[in-house]
C-alpha cells in the first residue's frame, strides 16, 4: 500500500458538527456517573454482606453483574450524548473492548489472587493467603516439569505436520480431477471434536485386541501392539491423533497461499528450464515462507492448548508421559480440587507461553528481514 501515513486520521472521513449542547453533555455525564454509582454501591454492599458486616444482601453476585451491564449500556449511550458523531464511531469497538476486558482482565486479576492462596474447594477450613508456597511447591513438582517437557515434544511434532501439510497442499494445488472431493475428504478430520476422535481413534481403533490399527500392527509384525503401554509410543500416539485432526488446518492455509502465488513467476521459472524440484525449492518455497510462518505460529498457539485428547485417552498416563500442562492442571483440579495451586501453575504457564511466543515472533521477524535483504534471484 502506497497510502500516506494515516495513523492520525480516520480512513473514512466524516464531516460533522462537533458542537454539543451543554445540556446534552451534562445528561451524558449524569447517566454514566449514576450508573457507576449504582454499580459501586451494589458492589460494596454485596462485599460487606459476604464478609458478614451487614446482614442484608443478595443471595449471589448476579445482581451486581446486572448493574455492571447497566453501566456498560449507559457508557455506550453517554458516548453518543457527549461526543456525538465521534461517540457513534466508538460504539463499533466499545462493546467488544468491554466484553474482552470484563471477561479476561478481571478474571485474570482474580486468578492472580487465587494463585497465591491455598484455595481448595474440597477443604472446609476455607482459604488463606499463603504467599509463595504454591510457587515453591511448583519448583519441586516433577510432574509439572515433565508436562512442560512434553509440551516441547508436542510442539516439535509440528515440524512433521508442516511437511505433510505442505505436501498435501501441493497435491491439491496440482491439476487434478475430483478436486472438490479430495478437498472435502482431507478437510473432514478438522470438523471432528477431539473428544470424538479420542474414542474413534484412541479408544477403538487403537484398542489392543480388536482395533484395526492393532490388527494392522500385528500384520506388519509388531508382536504385541500396545499404543499406550510405553511412554514413547503413547506420546507418539497422542501426537498422531492430534496431527490427524489439525493437519487440514495448516494444509488449507498453505493451499490458500499457493493459490495466491503470482502465476508469472512460476511461468518464468518454467521457461527458464527449471525442473519441478528446482522450481519448488528455489521459487515456491521461498515465496511461501510468510504464509508458512503464519500457519506454523498459529498451529503452535493451538498446540499449546492441547488437552482434550490426552484427558480422554490416557489421562496423562503412563506415569505422566503424555501429560500436557493443561491436562495436568485439569486433573489437579478434578482429583484434588486444588484451585489455588492449579491456578498458579496456569499463570506460570501463561508467562512461559508469552515469553516463548514473543521470542518466536521477534526471531522470525529478524530472520525474515535478513533473508529479504539477501534476496533471492
Amino acid at each position: 500500500m502506497s497510502m500516506p501515513a494515516q495513523s492520525d486520521g480516520d480512513k473514512l472521513h466524516v464531516v460533522t458538527s462537533d458542537h454539543m449542547s451543554p445540556g446534552r453533555i451534562l445528561a451524558g455525564r449524569t447517566l454514566v456517573w449514576s450508573a457507576a454509582v449504582l454499580l459501586a454501591v451494589m458492589l460494596i454492599a454485596q462485599a460487606l454482606y459476604e464478609f458478614e458486616v451487614i446482614s442484608f444482601g443478595f443471595e449471589n453476585w448476579r445482581p451486581v453483574l446486572y448493574a455492571y451491564l447497566l453501566w456498560a449500556i449507559a457508557m455506550g449511550v453517554a458516548q453518543v450524548l457527549i461526543r456525538g458523531e465521534q461517540g457513534k464511531r466508538a460504539l463499533f469497538v466499545l462493546p467488544a473492548v468491554l466484553f474482552v476486558v470484563s471477561m479476561v482482565i478481571f478474571p485474570m486479576l482474580f486468578g492472580l489472587y487465587i494463585s497465591f492462596t491455598d484455595w481448595n474447594l474440597a477443604s472446609v477450613t476455607g482459604r488463606k493467603f499463603n504467599g509463595l508456597d504454591n510457587f515453591r511447591q511448583m519448583l519441586s513438582d516433577p510432574f509439572y516439569w515433565n508436562a512442560l517437557l512434553n509440551m516441547v515434544y508436542y510442539v516439535a511434532a509440528i515440524a512433521v505436520e508442516y511437511i505433510i501439510a505442505f505436501g498435501l497442499a501441493l497435491l491439491l494445488n496440482a491439476d487434478i480431477r475430483a478436486r472438490k472431493f479430495f478437498r472435502v475428504a482431507l478437510l473432514l478430520p478438522l470438523m471432528l471434536s477431539p473428544v470424538a476422535v479420542s474414542w474413534m481413534v484412541g479408544k477403538s481403533m487403537m484398542e489392543i485386541r480388536f482395533g484395526p490399527l492393532a490388527r494392522l500392527g500385528r500384520f506388519l509384525g509388531w508382536e504385541s501392539p500396545s499404543f499406550f503401554g510405553t511412554p514413547e509410543v503413547a506420546r507418539l500416539a497422542i501426537m498422531v491423533m492430534d496431527a490427524w485432526t489439525f493437519i487440514p488446518f495448516m494444509m488449507i492455509m498453505i493451499l490458500a497461499g499457493l493459490q495466491a502465488l503470482p502465476k508469472e513467476v512460476l511461468e518464468a521459472a518454467k521457461v527458464d528450464g527449471a525442473t519441478a524440484w528446482q522450481s519448488f525449492w528455489e521459487v515456491i518455497f521461498p515465496l511461501m515462507l510468510p504464509v508458512s510462518i503464519t500457519a506454523i505460529v498459529i498451529r503452535i498457539i493451538f498446540k499449546l492448548k492441547l488437552a482434550d485428547i490426552i484427558i480422554n485417552v490416557t489421562s496423562g498416563g503412563p506415569g505422566g508421559a503424555t501429560d500436557s500442562v493443561t491436562s495436568f492442571i485439569f486433573r489437579e483440579y478434578r482429583d484434588r480440587s486444588n484451585v489455588g495451586y492449579g491456578t498458579l501453575l496456569a499463570m506460570v504457564y501463561l508467562v512461559l507461553i508469552i515469553v516463548f511466543i514473543l521470542m518466536l515472533l521477534s526471531g522470525v521477524n529478524r530472520w525474515m528481514r535478513r533473508t529479504s535483504q539477501g534476496g533471492f534471484g
Binding site: L12, E59, V100, S193, S204, A256, F330, A346
Partner: protein, 308 residues
C-alpha cells in the same frame, strides 16, 4: 483412401518419454491423494459401521457391511434412535437430545454473538482511529488478537469460582459467554481482512448521499462482507461445537454439552463399542454435514490470514 488411416506423424522418442513421465507423475499424485483420503475417512467409516455391529463382528474385525457382517440396530437401539425404538419413550434418547440441544444452543449463540461483536470491532478498527488511553488502533487490534494465545486453562479455574458466585455455573449463558470470548479473536482476525478489502470510496459515496456512519455500515458494507461473516460464523461454530475443556469444568447436569456426554461415556468401564460408536456418530454427524456442504466457507475463513 488408405492415406487417411495411416499415421502420418508419430511421436518422437523424447515425446514418448515425456508422456510416460506424465503418466507416472499422475499415478503418484492420485496414489498419494487416495492414500491420504483413506487415512482421513477410515476412522469415520469405522465409527459409522461399528455402530451397526454386534460383539462378534467387533471381535472378528469385520469391516464391510452386508459382506462381512449383517448390520444390526443394536447401537442405535441403546440410544433409543433405531427405527423400532424411535416412537417409544427412552430416557437415553431424552438425555442425548438434551445434550444435543445444549450444544446447538451454546454453539449457535456464541458464534452469533462473536460474529456481531467481532465484525463491529473489526469494521471500526479498519475505518476509524481510536484512542483509549495510551492505546491506538494497532494496540487495540493486538489486544484482541493476543487473546488467541491465552490458554483456556488460565481462565478455567478463576471462572469456576466467579461463576459459582454469579450463579452462572452449569448454565448455558455462562458457557456461551466463554465460547464467545474463545472465538472472538479469530472472528476479528477474519473480519479485519474482509473489511480492509472493501474500498472506502463505497462508504464515502454513501455518506455523501446522506447516510450516517452506521447506516452506511448496515446498508452498504454488511451485504458485501456477508460471505466473510458466514465464513467466520461457520468456523466459530466448528470450534464451539467441539469445545470440551470449559464444558467439562463448568457444567454438570443442566448445561452439559455433547462432547462432555461422549467423554463421560468413554470413561466408564466395559464400554459397549456399538453404543459408543452410535453416540460418536451422532455427535460428529452435524459437523460432517456442515463440512461437506459448507466446505467453501470454512476454507475461505481459514485462508483469510494466509494471503497476508
Amino acid at each position: 483412401m488408405s492415406g487417411q488411416t495411416t499415421q502420418i506423424f508419430s511421436d518422437a522418442e523424447p515425446d514418448l518419454a515425456y508422456r510416460a513421465k506424465w503418466y507416472t507423475e499422475r499415478a503418484l499424485i492420485y496414489g498419494a491423494l487416495i492414500f491420504w483420503a483413506f487415512i482421513c475417512l477410515f476412522p469415520i467409516y469405522w465409527t459409522v459401521t461399528t455402530s451397526f455391529k454386534i460383539a462378534p463382528d467387533v471381535m472378528r474385525g469385520n469391516l464391510v457391511p452386508w459382506v462381512d457382517f449383517e448390520p444390526q440396530w443394536r447401537g442405535w437401539r441403546s440410544l433409543g434412535l433405531s427405527p423400532n425404538t424411535i416412537s417409544e419413550t427412552s430416557t437415553v434418547r431424552e438425555e442425548f437430545l438434551k445434550r444435543f440441544m445444549n450444544s446447538v444452543i451454546t454453539s449457535l449463540s456464541a458464534s452469533m454473538l462473536a460474529v456481531t461483536l467481532g465484525s463491529l470491532a473489526a469494521y471500526g478498527l479498519s475505518r476509524f482511529s481510536y484512542r483509549f488511553g495510551f492505546m491506538r488502533n494497532s494496540d487495540i487490534s493486538f489486544f484482541f488478537l493476543s487473546q488467541m494465545i491465552l490458554p483456556p486453562v488460565v481462565l478455567a479455574l478463576p471462572f469456576l469460582i466467579l461463576y459459582k458466585e454469579l450463579a452462572l455455573l452449569d448454565s448455558r449463558i455462562g458457557i456461551i459467554l466463554l465460547y464467545t470470548l474463545m472465538v472472538l479473536p479469530i472472528v476479528i482476525w477474519i473480519m479485519r481482512d474482509q473489511f480492509s478489502a472493501i474500498p472506502i470510496e463505497l462508504e464515502e459515496a454513501a455518506l455523501v448521499d446522506g447516510l450516517s456512519v452506521w447506516g452506511a455500515f448496515v446498508q452498504i458494507v454488511l451485504p458485501i462482507a456477508l460471505p466473510g461473516m458466514v465464513a467466520a460464523f461457520i468456523l466459530s461454530l466448528v470450534l464451539t461445537w467441539n469445545e470440551y475443556f470449559f464444558a467439562a469444568l463448568l457444567t454438570s447436569t443442566d448445561a452439559k454439552t455433547l462432547p462432555v456426554m461422549v467423554a463421560s461415556q468413554t470413561g466408564s468401564q466395559g464400554i459397549n463399542w456399538w453404543s459408543m460408536a452410535a453416540l460418536s456418530t451422532a455427535a460428529i454427524a452435524p459437523l460432517v454435514v456442515i463440512g461437506v456442504v459448507l466446505e467453501r466457507y470454512i476454507i475461505k475463513g481459514m485462508a483469510a490470514g494466509a494471503g497476508k
